[in-house]
Symmetry: D2
Subunit: 315 residues, 4 copies
């Protein structure tokens, strides 16, 4: 078995050097201006240490990776009642989820597609003011990462608010079915802002650590969720974490993971590690191009796939 630090260093070096960097998302001007030549990887381990490579001090927009944390928060607030309003099956369609929303009367298929994440945000809002709900989400991420420098990038949020017609359509559609309780603009305001949370790879890896260790963050000793809930969130990440590329990610990487359009991916190695990678350029499916390749390298070299170790591991 190779040394993790060597593997991480090799991956960081390879990813820094590759010419194929994908395309940065341009629908949000702020994301479009990010330099595609950046790459970061951070692996948070059971002993609380973090093995890093690349631009691990750089803040990036976590975008949809935030949905893992809003789901965790909402489960804490609403418990399993949450599943009355959001399913946990892969969406499995190339077509956008509004088709599915119509067929299933406003119930989103899972908490990681946009409609589902909006419904989850509505549960966190739950009658409070948007400012309060957003503060709670931000504090939760500062708590998980044990780092108060995590912040909300208001320019990114404002940009999404100006252009988010499709999300506005989804939210109104669910509201028409009674699946969204709070005023649509309140819910979307919180949603656009939590997608605009900015973190470093190190902070993100630490924030996911409780999912790798039975609900407890080994760096801080804080218990976040029960072991069963951690397993179940991992299961939803594996089946639904990459939209209609979830099967492909499971097939190639073999870890629960959640990607964001800012180029971040959080992946969980149960019992071993929480891994954050960041590379701003995306592949055709909208997931980080080099991020996915980096994770493929990592699981292959370390024998970390949840679907079975490598020959190397056992010998």
């Amino acid at each position: 078995m190779p040394q993790l630090s060597d593997v991480v260093a090799e991956i960081a070096a390879e990813m820094a050097a590759r010419p194929d960097r994908g395309q940065v998302a341009t629908y949000i001007p702020e994301l479009g201006r990010v330099d595609p030549n950046q790459f970061a990887i951070a692996v948070a381990l059971a002993d609380g240490s973090v093995v890093e490579g690349g631009d691990c001090e750089t803040f990036f927009s976590i975008q949809s990776v935030s949905k893992v944390f809003t789901l965790t928060l909402a489960l804490g607030l609403a418990g399993d009642r949450l599943w009355n309003r959001v399913g946990r099956e892969p969406s499995g369609s190339r077509f956008n989820s509004i088709v599915q929303l119509e067929q299933e009367r406003g119930i989103p298929r899972n908490p990681f597609i946009n409609a589902g994440a909006i419904a989850v945000t509505d549960m966190i809002l739950s009658g409070h003011q948007p400012r309060e709900a957003l503060g709670e989400i931000l504090r939760f991420l500062q708590f998980l990462s044990n780092d108060d420098s995590v912040f909300i990038d208001k320019a990114v949020a404002a940009s999404e608010e100006r252009t988010g017609y499709n999300n506005r359509a989804l939210a109104n559609f669910m509201k028409g079915f009674g699946v969204v309780d709070n005023p649509v603009e309140f819910v979307l305001g919180v949603y656009f802002h939590h997608c605009a949370i900015a973190m470093t790879a190190r902070q993100l890896a630490r924030s996911g650590s409780f999912l790798a260790h039975q609900g407890r963050n080994p760096a801080t000793g804080h218990s976040v969720v029960t072991a069963e809930r951690a397993r179940r969130i991992n299961a939803v990440m594996l089946t639904c974490g990459h939209y209609d590329g979830s099967g492909e990610f499971a097939y190639r990487v073999g870890l629960p993971g959640k990607s964001g359009v800012g180029g971040a991916i959080l992946a969980i190695v149960p019992g071993k590690a929480s891994v954050a990678v960041w590379a701003p350029g995306l592949d055709a499916a909208g997931n980080s191009h080099l991020g996915r390749i980096a994770l493929e390298r990592l699981t292959a070299r370390m024998g970390w796939s949840i679907f079975g170790g490598s020959a190397a591991e056992t010998s």
Copy 2:
């Protein structure tokens, strides 16, 4: 950590006693006549031993569980070219897959929905006579289970041939897109017969053992596939193995698994075990009612979820 033999015995006892037994499938008369009071569980371990409970000598129709083995066989014949004709994403729709087939021009979403399994069967057939292809599939299962008593139940196959209009529609539809090469009736003949393969729980657990152990069957020492291919088949089982209930199975059981309408489920515990359960009564989603519950018990008690061990396991 509890003893596996105790856990299996307890599960078998509980499942034998439960009054809720689900509904046996009735669209095939032969399946409709099976006694719903039966239950079997067999756990094949790394040392080649099998821990059993319940009716482990009884033969049952493996139905769609056969698709794991035809996929394995077809990958051996066609290699990764197979993925040009079949996807590996969850189907994710309550609506039957013919809608998806139309939208994606005849390419089935994955090898475990009916359309995908028919396309896989077409690749195995590959210009041979149906009799030859079917013989190859049967011999493959006898080889994997190391037991020549595995057989094809011709009455079940004949029953499916008389009523399989939906599968006939799927096969013709794919043929129209050029995704099926061989004559439709040849392909369906092989398909209906391999779904009618009859095995015991012990045989089925042994047959899946190579998937738990990096492609090698520990009982026989035979290498079946590479470690990477075994992992990848497990990944497809996890994301696609229970039709539109795959997310639910991952969430509750936390193992790669494949169910059949005859009431069998094969589940893989990577590095540890291959598990076959059989209980003929189905739940509303068409998966074995008690089979799923038995697997939930097993992973919870043994800490076998691939998404993270129980507190018990680590302490």
Copy 3:
């Protein structure tokens, strides 16, 4: 051939007496309070006269019938460029049109489904203030009916604004595809208000008269559109005027028609008459129950189907 006045009187008497009155729409409280025992029929003829029966002095909410007039107005403003943003094919799906909108990238199938009518309203708005656009629509209907008492029922409009989440979803969805130019709330404000226009059956029959007479209103002598445009609007009414019940209306009544959820139907007998019927109770498909039956009686008795006269007519 029977006398029209006799036929109208008989129909009015029958409809007043029938016990089956359908169900009034309740999703808008103002519509839910309308007395279902009312019925009106008005037939505007080529000589400018109107043959009436029933409650022809009562004002009702024309709802979606307004879409015939906004289409006419928008064609006058935008010409055939309108058809770049709206199709003219039947929607033909039981499922709500947002599915279709997604598949066809924001282009509504026709101007009479909600999405299409919203896109048409956007073209009328065309950079103006909502108040101006709405004034223009109202004046157009006063001009067509030659009656200044036509008005907008603001309580109905306000009610729709409070509950119109599905229309808000459609408008935002189209906005995301660039099919709506003006601010969504402006467009919906005008849309909800023009659906809330209140008229009598006599006024409505007169307003449709130009469609029966090659674009010219025989009562006033005003030329509204060209003969070709009148024919084409009639064609769209026939194929698309009753949502997914358009085929049924053509089959039973045999006239171009447009229904509204307030219980009104406008039907055109080319070369002969413009007919307004109103009965507040709806059938399962959301069209006026007695209105449809009344029109069926009228075309059968008068031999007015555009698909061929009755034996009576020719003999």
Copy 4:
């Protein structure tokens, strides 16, 4: 009003000269070999005469135009019970009808899409041998056209049988829902053969004549259906006769019509004429390119649109 004979001659001359001829269908080799430079138009009038232009002696494959006649025949056999198995709404989707079949549990939307025509053929078959049913359909067309030279082109039928996988999928799919009674291969055999009926434009115009004249063929004096049924078949032709181009045909031509992939269109002018046009090249929507243009010319010049006469007509 211009003379019909002049108009027909002008249209025939223009269509013979135009360079844009569309593309002949190539999926059936026999159709692909047809010379695209041919054009025919025949107008059967109330006095039994036929005004002709172009290649009116040439036999062509009527293909889907046959569905008007099988519908008429099946209504005669089954009466309005037919509508329990087939709807009468436009299909209205760019996507092939198998999606709709699934959503509506095997009931085709209308008798003119392939699925609906197959269900209609099943009703004609109704327990008889394919040969008998086919003989009845052929005799019906010889009777309607008053011409025994109408025949079935067996090479075309054989070609369709070899390649008709999509129709085979539809038929099996409906069989699975119990909407098809007879053996699938019997039904398809009759279906493929009636689509392969060969006629001249003159024969086709005469065959449709009963639809223009209240169910009675004026040339022969034979009463074929009631006036009401003729109107209703016309209504279904108008709303459903050109697949997903039915709205467009109504908008441009303004007549009930039915097209076939062989390049024929039958159009009905209620009370006046039955028109057959034939030009083998198709437009992007699969309808005869010059056939549609010829009909547009004819209705515009003659003021024959059912949606209102031209200014010329009334003055």
